[in-house]
């Protein structure tokens, strides 16, 4: 029998298998899992044992998906104050409180982004979005309510078709939306005034790691002089990249692209399924965060000012995320 509550394991496998997806949802699910783990802890009631247990749960969660920084950021946010705790019961309270705070703050962040982002879109605009991003969808819906959006192109986003989720959410809010295949982005881009996408991770130099295809959408937009906005909550900024860490791009199983039978019949065809790509800062006009609109090159300001806590606990020059050190073990 596992040391972890069943629900925690379900959340971990839900993230791994992409039943829970999108950087924001993953982060909130991880915070929720940490809270559940803390509340259901039934080991020795002493501070050290509890911290060790929480570090194990945190590592279990972080390992589920390698690319999105929101996951480790959420875990560090929830667990780092454990360093200052002095008793088991206080430590448990800290985890519960921090998890609740993270979930509340991240939801408020998305809302603030929608308000700020909508202002950036002029009246009667055509918007294009790629994949599914809660922050981007909320910006578009808010802008539509203010009469700023007349049409949205949503890419279907192979291999997982997250564009269908985007389509459904926009259509339910009454936004006129048209789905296009990913290959048709350059075909429609001349009609488009703004590209609005989300982010999985924003690096310290302002590059944006997002769903595969984002960088070519941004390139097509740049060629057509169409503005590119990235809607990203501050917990998507990666403190690790400031200390030189590379963002690992996850490759997922080929079965997500072609059926198993096809793969088995064509063993010499390698089906490559990278999930994310990197959009360079020069193709991004602005990143819309809950703290305001910044040029991508100013990403470091968000990192230093708003994720200072993460930098402190990581320690400058420390390039590996060491949860033990972070909780003071």
């Amino acid at each position: 029998m596992s040391r972890y509550p069943q629900r925690v394991l379900e959340i971990a496998s839900g993230i791994r298998e992409m039943k829970i997806r999108g950087a924001g949802k993953i982060a909130r699910a991880a915070a929720e899992a940490l809270k559940i783990a803390a509340l259901n802890y039934n080991g020795v009631e002493d501070l050290m044992s509890f911290k060790k247990y929480m570090v194990d749960v945190g590592e279990l969660l972080i390992l589920t998906r390698p690319t999105a920084i929101s996951l480790p950021n959420a875990v560090v946010y929830v667990l780092s104050p454990l360093r200052g705790s002095s008793s088991f019961s206080e430590a448990r309270e800290i985890v519960v409180r921090q998890a609740d705070n993270f979930i509340r703050e991240s939801e408020e962040a998305t809302k603030r982004i929608s308000v700020i982002g909508a202002k950036r879109i002029r009246e009667n605009s055509v918007v294009l979005t790629h994949c599914h991003s809660t922050a981007a969808v909320r910006v578009i819906i808010e802008a539509y309510k203010q009469g700023r959006v007349v049409r949205v192109y949503s890419t279907e986003t192979r291999p997982f078709y997250q564009g269908r989720v985007t389509y459904t959410q926009l259509a339910k809010s009454g936004v006129p939306v048209v789905q296009i295949p990913d290959s048709a982005v350059r075909y429609v881009i001349n009609e488009v005034d703004y590209v609005v996408v989300g982010a999985d991770t924003v690096t310290s130099n302002g590059a944006v790691v997002n769903k595969i295809g984002t960088s070519q959408v941004a390139l097509a937009a740049k060629e057509a002089r169409t503005r590119v906005y990235v809607a990203a909550e501050s917990y998507k900024f990666s403190p690790l990249t400031l200390v030189g860490e590379l963002v690992t791009i996850e490759y997922r199983p080929p079965e997500e692209i072609v059926p198993r039978e096809w793969i088995e019949k064509h063993l010499r065809v390698k089906v490559l399924n990278p999930v994310f790509d990197v959009t360079p800062p020069d193709y991004i006009d602005a990143i819309i965060t809950e703290y305001g609109v910044i040029p991508p090159q100013a990403a470091v300001l968000i990192l230093v000012e708003k994720l200072g806590w993460a930098l402190d606990v990581l320690g400058y020059g420390e390039s590996k995320l060491d949860l033990k050190k972070i909780v003071g073990l």
Partner: protein
Amino acid sequence: MHRFTGSELAFSILSELYSVAIKSSEKELVKRILELKDFVLNERPTSVASLNILRLIGLYILEQGFTGVDEYIVGLREKYERSLERAAEIMSKRIVSGEVLLSNSNSLAVRKVLRHLSEQGKDVKIYITESRPGNEGLLLAEYAESLGFEVYLIVDSAVRFFMKNIDKVVVGAEAVASNGAIVSKIGTSLIALIAKEARKRVFVVAPILKFSHETLYGELLKLPEYDWRSLISEEEIAELPVDYRARVPLYDVTPSEYIDAIVTEYGLFAPQAIPLILSLVERSITSTSRSLEEVMSGLKALVEV
């Protein structure tokens, strides 16, 4: 059902008209030519090779009558086959062992390039996009695999991600316009833009028969668009909001500045030089200023009297 490539459609039109020419009356042949013209214009207006074939056969009838039209069709077929082979062979010479190629869709010309490479014993690797809608990339991947090449299949969105690994982009075309732009499977123009950004060479393999005369006289090429049926099945759409709207273009236009060379049976040229090449080598085509519509109404008049 597998969608014909531009060249496959041209060949099937040639086969069909040949059998009509030898089996049926002259009137039947003209009727079929006119029907096929309407079919291509409605269903496949970008397939310039098919339209050119219909025009050439029509011209033959108008100028020489019906005698020998069957042999003319056979000759046209052989000539087009040779043109494709020759263009593919010329392209294959530009590729050296160890290079990494990228292609999309399932162009017959590109398949012939691969076959030439295989016959020349050149070992290349090839990235192929699945090429939505239609997923013809899977067919090209199967063919490249059968020739023994190392094949990587990727989604259309992953082109920029992998472009740094690529040496040359090699694609086919449905049509070549008079300004050197090409019409090809949707997504080709994005691939070419990405290649340009990464300073990778882009080659388009297209026999001269794909040159659109209409564009020379200012006509725009019509690009057909499909609806959601080419993206999603009836079962899947049940989960989406009612009146699910999709816009599914099948072809796009790649401007000449993103193309390093168009490879024809007469050699490898800058795309901007295409009209010049045409006037130098294909006098029989450029010397006739008769448009497809003129030829077709001439044919119509022929059977109506």
